[in-house]
């Protein structure tokens, strides 16, 4: 069981997996933050149909498992899209300028990124909304009494405070993105958990493989927590974050 550590080759697999996990999580977090903010604004829209649709969207994404959503994007959408588009998506293309030379991502990467981003965006939207709700309503009234327009009130009174309140919970959601990215192994994306499982299957060194992967995850989550603490002086992101 504890017979030595993993051969360098397998450590290489694990580090490659960590790279995919970090890259996927970073991209998904950025997309989810932007999309989450937009969804929050739509959710608070004075138009009832818009607010209702946004509420239904958020509820649908928050109340179904990420795993099922990933299966839907990976297996379901590939069956719904026209064959020509699937062929195009699966064929390699060069993206961006030659200098970057980034390879065309495989379809499981696209589906994983889409699924993880949409799922996380719904949770981020709720964190933004909680932040906005926690700004005392009297401040809006005060702004109006000073003759400010509602745009001015939003930009210079509500949002700066709401973002300050929401940033620690949002950091907690970024931690959840890192942890949730592990589910993309189920659609065959070669990230950290997938690599750990592969190494375990090849070497039977389950303890070493899962131990190293666990350490990598704890390290990544601790880095986010440490950043949140250093930058904003919060002891840690809140513990009860919905996931």
């Amino acid at each position: 069981m504890f017979d030595g550590f993993l051969a360098p080759r397998y450590i290489g697999w694990m580090i490659d997996g960590l790279g995919v996990t970090l890259g996927l999580s970073a991209l998904a977090s950025v997309i989810a933050l932007v999309l989450g903010f937009v969804l929050c604004v739509l959710r608070l829209s004075p138009s009832r149909p818009v607010a209702g649709l946004a509420a239904a969207w958020l509820s649908a994404f928050r109340n179904t498992p990420l795993l099922v959503q990933l299966f839907f994007w990976y297996f379901g959408v590939s069956a719904l899209l026209p064959d020509s588009l699937m062929a195009w998506l699966n064929a390699p293309h060069r993206i961006g300028v030659e200098a970057f030379g980034a390879p065309w991502p495989p379809f499981e990467m696209l589906a994983g990124l889409l699924g993880l981003s949409l799922y996380s965006a719904a949770f981020m939207a709720e964190e933004f909304r909680a932040g906005i709700y926690s700004v005392a309503p009297g401040q809006t009234a005060a702004g109006r009494a000073l003759g400010m327009t509602s745009t001015q009130i939003w930009i210079s009174i509500i949002l700066p405070q709401a973002v300050r309140i929401a940033r620690a919970p949002l950091a907690g959601q970024v931690m959840n993105v890192v942890k949730n990215s592990s589910l993309t192994m189920a659609i065959g994306l070669a990230e950290l958990s997938y690599a750990a499982r592969q190494v375990e299957t090849e070497t039977f060194q389950a303890f070493q493989a899962f131990g190293l992967a666990t350490l990598f995850y704890i390290g990544a989550v601790a880095l986010i927590g440490g950043f949140s603490q250093l930058a904003w002086g919060r002891s840690s992101p809140p513990t009860g974050a919905a996931r």
Partner: protein, 228 residues
Amino acid sequence: MNPSVITDNLIYFLVGPWPQGPLGGAALTVILTVLSAALSGVLGLVFGVLLSVLRGPWLAVLRLGLGLFRAIPVLMLIFWIYFLAPIAFGLDVPGVGSVVAALSLIGGAYLAHTVHAGIEALPRGQWAAASALGLSRRQTLWLVVAPQVLPRMAPSVVNQWIALTKDTSLAYVIGVAELSFVATQVSNRVMVYPAEIYLFVAVLYFILCAGFELAAGRLARRYRSLPA
């Protein structure tokens, strides 16, 4: 859209191969949720009370332990229990047991902080008052603190249940025949209409989770109106 793939396999989605074989499908999902909700509730209460009463190095150890459970993906913990418990302790943990153990530990680690925060939110004077009345610390906990703290925790407990319900889908990775696993079985067998299958399964999960969400909203409104 082709609804026949759903109607033809409806019973299989709901109960798996039962009664010919073991119970599976949505029924197993509900069982996994109920078992891990109950166990995580017990663990959360115990660890939460300990967070409030322990001092010094033991408190640090407990905090570190709970922090670890909240830092690792549920999937990793399931792997640890499923693949390593047999090697490390010679215990052959069945898939269902591994999943319930992993979800209870992680759910309990989250709930512990909810319980702890609830206890800390009570004015310290209540402990002093109870002690002045001659109550022991244990009596104070059960007769004074618990009746005030537990109802207020209800909304976040229900939110934990939503997370648990969704997390039971991870049992798929170790081949436990709950709803997600059964869905992939059907999808692989019929080879067509995966979108219909996964949408339907998502709707089943949504019914379970949205029910809890409604309950959480009701509870939150009810207890918000209570005096602090």
